[in-house]
Each structure stands twice: as structure tokens, then as C-alpha cells.
Symmetry: C2
Subunit: 403 residues, 2 copies
């Protein structure tokens, strides 16, 4: 198992990696994404698995008859955020193949079909919507909505698919496919540092509700060198007060609130800004807390704006309710793995999207620094191998004859 | 006079104007700039003035013998900041031609050469350095420095000149030309609202010392949805505290400090920023005040960064010392115009660059809202005509036989 994991990891490591940042730029339908997809197909064929591309661009590798029903599916995604790390996504796919290798070494006999999956465009780096492959499959993103998406260069999603050699005509809900799946288990590097050296693998309890809100702060463009302070309507000040208020309120609520994206107009050194857009990412353990937190931040922004003549507009760009993973499946995993931590996560995943349609569960592998969505993201090899062993145990429990 | 001013104003009004913003996009050597330059040349020829293009791309229109020495020069610039207003620059050039028309109507007899000038690339919108035409002429920007400048698309300044049909080979200090000039008087729309309906025209006393400083706030990229607050190193918070500190400190110092330009990396909605660059524009009535103010803002940024693990780096990108306009010339203008306000300005001008080489002065025309560097910049026509009359009076005093 060590061998196959290490070999697969080494094969993927250079694909789509930026020499300057050391981070990954594997975005939906770009050339790095295509290399990852070729790699997936090779892994499937090398193991004698039936390779299948679904209507939404997700890749499947089947052991046993896909039509038999009740399949146990595992996998994750191979794309990345801009300058993301090596583990977010690929660890789940590589671990899936390695776990299958491990089960074969153990001589396990399968009594259900098993599939390994690579969901397309999980990070949403190119078209601004996360989990496009699983959203389409589950029918929570319609074909029309997907067709309306454009990347930063104005390329439409179906055109991007087509240029990459894929047929976008048939994208959309795929209930028939979901009906074949009995359980989906996704392994993922932890994006935080709850797990410990003693307990490098955990089971997910839930995904926090989360959303994106855009704050538009409307001021008045003016000359930075001549406009008296009392004549200014400078939205940068309102933005700054809102950033600080968001942090304070989040801390008090035991939740998260982040401004990580900003756009300034006209963005000139000697011009007072006319408009600042700041995007708030906020998450909390439950929906009432999240709703109250965002309302408090909105209130702080409006009050700050009123004092200084800045009009503040708030737009909710996306919202994902709390996802509680399937209780029986979660308990079965935790029971099989014996005393592992059960923890919630603030990050969205394909498993969260699919949870509304089929029983899903997640395993997390320890991340010593907790760093994620960054070139500095890291997991120790021994923890990754513990993850593979745990995934093999879980798959054996779910899909194999019990000895 | 009303007629020629209004006609010229109407001709220039549509040139380089954005239909979407209503602001101007007349940048060095672009097509709108070329149209403005053609217009200038036509105005010169229509009045029988000798048209001349100098080595640095500045346009001159001469009445009388340029070689005679002691010339009285007036004018301004025709380029704009991104989405700038109609008045900043063009008002000075149009008023110069209109003042000449007025003097001819008055039957004034010139006893010195008079020139009207359009300085190139005053706003620095394209290559990031303001007053390139006058800086080159005065020798405060070298040919080598100018050749090293690139625009946002990577086009080098000499290549941009060449593409526009100008020869960049001979750019550089032009002492011989400056030696011909006895006085330069620039009329400009006020960029503030000191002037009143009773006193719509003023004389400049000085240009405040000013500069640009870049603050780099180095944090750690991380997942916005999963990183615990205590594990974050989020530079957005340090930036926000610095923005607010800058405003407070500037207010206490009776000075100006503005963050109007920001760049965020990676600038993703669900990513804690790894790096925020914020550009500070700061100005004060005197250099000790400005130095102390920037030091206080630096101190506030460093202290905020130390509390939260953010490394702060400060780079001074440009600095212009105080410019005191020529005392005797200023007093002569104020005397001729009789009891007009004498006021400092926070904005840089070609007149400020040239002040180190030749006697220069400025007239300001009332700006009711004080708005500048914005499509909303405005001056009333009657105030503009008062400006033309005042400029004619001043030119008559300086360049004509006294009757």
C-alpha cells in the first residue's frame, strides 16, 4: 500500500504546479485538469476497473456491475483553488485507489459494486460556483444555470467543456446514476487542526452552514490631495470599520467571518475611492447563529456608513444550509474505526452536496498546521497512510463479505 | 470671449469621454490624447500662432519670436486621470486661447513673446509618474528613467510615443527652451472648495509637500471556512486598522492621508489573504508635519501587525517637497487682480515642477462641489469666464505694453 500511494502521489505532484508560487492551478477544463483526468483514467484501466465519464464531466472507475445498485462510492476531486495545495482533493482520490489496492492485498471479496469517483470543478475557481460536477448530478444546479456561467475571460462553461473535448449538451440532473449509489464516502485532508498525532483520522459530523455576501460601499470619487477631510465621502473607512466589526462579532459568536476579496474603484493612488466591494465569507455551527452574525455585521456596516455618508448595499451571493451527514453511516464508520474523533467542518464538499440525495460520510486526515487553500498545505505521509488504512477498513465494512 | 470659450469647450467635451462612466480617458499617447493634440494644433494655426512640438512631446503655440527671450507662457494639460472630469487640465488650455482672444479684442500690444502650452502626460495615468512632459523638460526625470517606464500592458514609454507617431530619441532636459521663458502662469480648476461665488478666482501660494507610500501587509493564505480565528494571520485586519489610524492621525495633524488603491492576494472569497498592498497618499502644509504624520501611520501599522503576526513593510514610492511659487510673481498677480484669495493646494502640477527652474504662478477657478478627478467635477461657466478675464489681465500685465 505504501508503494502504490507514494507512486501515485509522486505522479500527480508536478501536474499544474506553478513554479513561482509552488501552488496548484488545476482549474476546470484547463490543461492541468486534463492531465489529472488522463491520470485518473490510467489508474482505473491499470486496475482493470471499468472507466466511465458521466454526463456532467465526473469520472468513475467501477469494480463490479454499475447497474447492480447499492454501490459503495469513494473519491473526491482533482482540481484546485488558485495556488492551492497538493492535498485538497487529490488526497481523497489517491487514497481511494490505494485503499482498493489494500483491500485486494487483504484478499477482500466484494459483495457490492465499488466505484472511485473524481468530481469535476469542485473548487469553483474558474466559474465562481463550487461543486459544479456534483451540483449538476444532484440537480441543485440546472443546465440553464450552468450554461449561464462564464469565467474571468468571458468563456461560457459549455464552451470551455467543448474546447476540452467534452460534450456539454447532456449536462444536468442524473437521478438514475445517484439511484445506483448506496453510500458515498469522501476522504479529505482536514482544513483546520483539530486532529492530533494520536488521532490522525476523524469522521465528519456535519458541514457548517455557510455563505457569501457582497458588501457594496458607495462613496464619492475625489482628489486625495485636495479634498478636505470634512468634504470626503470615503468608503475605505466604512469598509475598514466593517472588516474589524466582522472579526469582533464572529469571535463573540464562536463563528467565522472573513473579508478575503476586495475590488476598489477607481483604485488610483491619488483618488478617494468611489466604490468598494468587499466579499464576506461567513460560517457558523448552526443557521440561527450564522443569520444573527451576518445581521450584526450588516448593522455595523450600515451604522458606520450612515455616520460618513456612505451608502451600503448587501447582496447574498450564495448560501448553503447546514449539512448533517447521514447518522447511521457516520456511526457505522466511527464504530468500525473505533474511538476516532467525530468533528464538524466549515468547508463545503461534494459529499455535502450529495448528502441531500444519498447517504454520505467523510473521513478527515490530520493537517498539522491547519493551513489549507495555500501552497503551504501539508499532511504527513504516515497520517495519509493511516487515512488509506481507515478508508480501506470502512470500504471493507460497507462493500465486502464479512469474514 | 464668451463665444470662443464656449465653442472651444464644446469641441473638446466629447473627446475621450466614456459613455458608461461619463468620465474622461485621455491617457498619454492614446487615441483620445491624439485628438486633443490635433485640436490644440488647429487652435494655434487658426490664430496665426507658430505651432511647435518640443522634444518631450509638449505642444507650444507662439505669438512673437520664441528666440527673443523673456516669454510669458500660459497653458496646462489635456490628458486626464482614469474617469476624470472635463476641467482638470483643459480649462487651463482653453482659457489660455480665450485670454489671447480677449487681449486681441482689447487691442493689447505685446512687448514680449507669448506662448500657450499643452504639457504631455501630466496626470501620469498611463506610466504611473505624473508630469512627465514637464519633468523631462526640467531635467528632473532623465531619459533613462523615462525609457524604463511601462504601462499596465507592459508597453514601454518610448514605444508608446513611437506608435503615436512621435520620436522618443531626443527626450530629456531642455534648458535652452526653459531659458526662453520669463514666466509661466497656469490656470486650473480648484480641487477643493475654498473659493466662493464672491471670489471665484484665486492665486496659488504653494503646493503642499506630498508623496506616495506603499504598505505591504504579509499574512498567511488559508481557508476562510475552516481556519480557527486563533490560528489566523489575516492581513486584512491590519490593513483596516491602518486605514482608520491614518484618517485619525491626519485629522489631528490638519493634514491629508488617503488609502485609495488596494491590491489583495490571492483575492478569493473563501481565502484569507496572504498579502495586502495598500497605497497611502499623504500631504500636509509643511514637510515636518508630513514626515511626522507618515511616521505615526507607520508606527500604528507596525504595532497592529505585531499584535497579529502580520509583517508590515513600508516603501516610499514618490515624494515631492513643498513648492513655494515665485513670491514677486505671485504678489504681482494678486496685486493686478485686486484682493483675490491667495491659497495653497495639495495637488501637484506642471507649474510646481517648473517652479524650480523658472518663475511660475497659478490661478485657480472656483469648483462649487470641490469634486476633482471624477466625472462629477464641475465649474460654472460664469466662473470660468471670470478665470479667462483674470488670466487676460495677468497676461496683459506681464506681456503687453502698459497703456
Amino acid at each position: 500500500m505504501t508503494d502504490t500511494f507514494g507512486r501515485m502521489w509522486a505522479e500527480l505532484l508536478p501536474v499544474g504546479r506553478s513554479a513561482s508560487s509552488g501552488g496548484y492551478r488545476r482549474f476546470a477544463w484547463n490543461s492541468a485538469d486534463a492531465e489529472c483526468r488522463s491520470w485518473f483514467e490510467e489508474q482505473a484501466r491499470a486496475r482493470g476497473l471499468a472507466y466511465e465519464l458521466d454526463r456532467n464531466g465526473n469520472q468513475w472507475a467501477w469494480l463490479g456491475d454499475p447497474q447492480a445498485g447499492g454501490a459503495v462510492v469513494t473519491g473526491s476531486h482533482l482540481d484546485s483553488v488558485p495556488d492551492g495545495g497538493a492535498y485538497d482533493g487529490p488526497l481523497g482520490v489517491v487514497s481511494a485507489f490505494a485503499a482498493l489496492d489494500e483491500l485486494r492485498e487483504r484478499g477482500a471479496e466484494f459483495d457490492r459494486p465499488l466505484a472511485i469517483v473524481n468530481f469535476g470543478d469542485e473548487e469553483g475557481a474558474r466559474f465562481g460556483v463550487a461543486c459544479i460536477g456534483s451540483r449538476l448530478t444532484a440537480g441543485v444546479l440546472s443546465k440553464e444555470q450552468a450554461y449561464a456561467l462564464r469565467d474571468a475571460d468571458g468563456v461560457r462553461l459549455p464552451d470551455a467543456m467543448e474546447r476540452a473535448g467534452y460534450d456539454p449538451a447532456a449536462i444536468g440532473a442524473d437521478q438514475e446514476r445517484l439511484a445506483r449509489v448506496g453510500a458515498y464516502v469522501e476522504l479529505h485532508v482536514e482544513q483546520g487542526r483539530y486532529l492530533t498525532e494520536e488521532h490522525p483520522v476523524g469522521v465528519a459530523s456535519a458541514i457548517w452552514p455557510h455563505g457569501r455576501w457582497r458588501f457594496d460601499f458607495h462613496g464619492e470619487a475625489n482628489h486625495a490631495g485636495t479634498t478636505r477631510i470634512e468634504d470626503r465621502r470615503d468608503p475605505m473607512l466604512t469598509f475598514a470599520e466593517t472588516v474589524l466589526a466582522a472579526r469582533t462579532r464572529a469571535q463573540l459568536a464562536g463563528a467565522l467571518a472573513t473579508f478575503g476579496k476586495v475590488a476598489v474603484e477607481p483604485n488610483g493612488t491619488n483618488a478617494i475611492a468611489s466604490l468598494i466591494r468587499g466579499w464576506l465569507d461567513s460560517r457558523a455551527a448552526d443557521e440561527p447563529t450564522l443569520t444573527a452574525l451576518v445581521e450584526e455585521i450588516r448593522q455595523a456596516a450600515y451604522e458606520s456608513g450612515e455616520r460618513t455618508g456612505i451608502k451600503v448595499e448587501l447582496t447574498r451571493e450564495s448560501y448553503t444550509p447546514v449539512v448533517d451527514f447521514d447518522g447511521p453511516l457516520r456511526d457505522r464508520l466511527a464504530g468500525r474505526l473505533g474511538g476516532v474523533p467525530v468533528l464538524p467542518t466549515g468547508a463545503g464538499h461534494d459529499a455535502g452536496i450529495l448528502a441531500s440525495a444519498i447517504p454520505t460520510a467523510m473521513l478527515f486526515v490530520r493537517n498539522p498546521s491547519g493551513v489549507s487553500h495555500s501552497p503551504a498545505e501539508h499532511a504527513e505521509e504516515r497520517d495519509c497512510l493511516a487515512g488509506v488504512a481507515a478508508l480501506a477498513d470502512v470500504l471493507e465494512d460497507l462493500a465486502c463479505l464479512q469474514r
